[in-house]
Amino acid sequence: MSLTAKRASRYIIALVIIFTLNFVIPRAMPGDPLTNLLGEDVILTDSSVIELRSEMGLDRPLFEQYLDYWHGILHLDLGYSFHRHSPVAEIIFARMKWTLLLAVPSLLTGGILGTILGALAGWRSANSCQKASTAFFLAIYCTPPYFLCLLALYLFSFKLDIFPLKGFYDTGSAADIALHLFLPVLVMTLFSLSRNYMIMRGSVLQEKSSLYAAFARAKGLYDAEILFRHVFKNALLPIITLLAMDFGFILSGALFVEIVFSMNGMGNLIYDALLSRDYPVLQGSFLIITLMVVSANLLADILYSRLDPRVRWH
């Protein structure tokens, strides 16, 4: 347990550094920090500039500002967007739940199916059926997710008219949301599945020639028993690390998917903020995404030590 605490403290230090950078950058950037904090396209009168500057504490010493900044973060205050006329935290949390609705089911199915199918592909690598499936997932793996989105939209929504073209919902009923989410979740699942598939396949290929797999066979275990009792868990270890490192990449994939499907989640929020130079929203979004990536890494670390006793003891 103290080991978990030790690990957690490492991640907390990382977060403190990232949050501090987030404080430093707008103040160190060339130009007026007020512009850097509010966004470039916000038009202000001279009197409101002075008023805002004192309201945001920019006329006070840096250290006081820094303490203030942390006070804000701990109270979930991520600043105010003058473009959207509402607090950044509110905007982000309203959007984030939709992005999670898209990303979490895709990541889970992609993770579970990808490792199982990849393990079977690595285990029966000589089988022509598995070779075909490897070729298929390799093609998916190499295709950018937004292109897959366009293909899916064109085929299923435009030509076949099975699924709606855009958005998260029309009426807001569960069935309606599910219908809207089907294609994006499918693309995201394929995207994360293909990545896990390729890594797991390579990992199993490597592990199956190990001596412990040969001994499992010598003990009288048959075929899939060796895979799922011995090789699978060992092959999963590199996957967990890669999954955590991949998390940010997959999240950015989700943002692209949202943009193509015109869904009002984090992806479109960040995209619009970029175009209108709405810095508070951008910074807030990056902080939240950083927090998620770091938590994913912490989770992977804990999971790894659950699976591998060697990490627990050394």
């Binding site: 190990s210 001596l211 412990y212 040969a214 001994f215 499992a216 066979r217 010598a218 003990k219 009288g220 275990l221 048959y222 075929d223 028993e225 009792r229 011995h230 868990k233 060992n234 270890l237 699976l307 591998d308 006793p309 060697r310 003891w313």
Partner: protein, 329 residues
């Protein structure tokens, strides 16, 4: 040690076993026309230098060789040829009927699974025992091999020494009471005293369950101490087979004699000449380029020939038979 009666049929009969591997540099002939019989309750040692093909013989009996191996010949066990069985049929033989102890025990155990579970799983998979009962039996087996205590049950292979892992492997090989145990270089990586101790325990349990032991080793003294009979391999062929004590006191084949002279207590003399290529072995008797008793006839292949034993074994028993592959007999 020898509990065998003269009329016993062999439990395992290897007939004309030849194994070669396709490699980038050519066909490696790892074993050629290997024949021997293993009787109930006996210990047969397969000895020879590293790379002479001993382990290949062991692995081919278990069908554990990689895909680039070409196997010919027969391995008759309980009326069936093991070499022609399917993978599914073989999985019922492995561990339950014939068990193998690998060299390199610390790599052969699954690094992220408790040792007790690695033994217990055999009972669960092959006999359908419930988890609790199989763990209890695994604990008993570990106890018999000198690994007592609940803490040992909960250990992982990386927490054990090489010797302790070797005991775990031996426990795993015996848990299903197989009729044959193959030990592939069990003393490798262990120091002399520990190897002797582990082997003594193995021999004791083997005798308790009445299994036969095929011991693969390059350690001649270990082979002499625990085996009833001995087969000497050179370059993929068995050169001489007979009672261990007899082979030690009166080696018939020039290679056996040369090998025994390598022992520190017997002069520490290396065999002159280089080890032969396994891809293009010498024609005729494979030992002839290094043999002190070479003659013209050695360029042709000698046959396995029966010679008179001195008769320490019961009259008429198979073990009396001494066979040598040399033109001098």
């Amino acid at each position: 040690m020898n509990s065998r009666r003269p009329d016993d049929a062999p439990i395992l009969q290897i007939e004309d076993l030849s194994v070669s591997f396709s490699t980038a540099t050519g066909q490696v002939k790892a074993a050629e026309n290997v024949c021997f019989k293993l009787y109930k309750g006996e210990t047969l040692a397969l000895v020879g230098e590293t790379g002479c093909g001993k382990s290949v013989v062991a692995s081919s009996i278990m069908q554990l060789l990689p895909n680039n191996a070409h196997i010919q010949g027969r391995a008759i066990y309980a009326g069936r040829d093991l070499l022609s069985l399917s993978e599914k049929e073989m999985s019922r033989i492995r561990g339950s009927e014939i068990a193998i102890v690998f060299q390199n025990p610390s790599l052969a155990l699954n690094p992220i699974m408790r040792v007790s579970e690695q033994i217990a799983e055999m009972l669960q998979v092959r006999k359908g025992y419930p988890a609790a009962q199989s763990l209890e039996l695994a604990g008993e087996m570990l106890h018999r091999l000198g690994l007592q205590g609940d803490d040992k049950m909960r250990m992982y292979p990386f927490q054990f020494s090489g010797g302790m892992n070797q005991r775990v492997m031996i426990a795993a090989s015996m848990i299903l009471s197989p009729r044959i145990i193959i030990a592939d270089e069990p003393s490798k990586g262990l120091d002399g005293a520990l190897a002797a101790e582990v082997m003594a325990e193995m021999a004791r349990i083997k005798n308790q369950v009445g299994a036969s032991l095929l011991l693969i080793t390059h350690d001649l003294n270990l082979a002499r101490n625990i085996s009833d009979r001995m087969a000497v391999m050179y370059c993929g062929e068995i050169m001489e087979i007979g009672e261990s004590e007899e082979i030690f006191s009166l080696p018939r084949h020039p290679y056996t004699a040369a090998l025994l002279r390598c022992l520190p207590e017997r002069g520490f003399q290396p065999i002159p000449g280089p080890s032969p290529s396994m891809i293009k072995p010498p024609a005729g008797c494979k030992f002839h380029p290094r043999c002190p008793n070479i003659s013209e006839v050695c360029r042709r292949k000698p046959k396995m020939t029966r010679v008179e034993g001195r008769g320490t074994a019961p009259a008429g028993s198979e073990s009396e038979i001494r066979e040598v592959k040399c033109w001098r007999y």
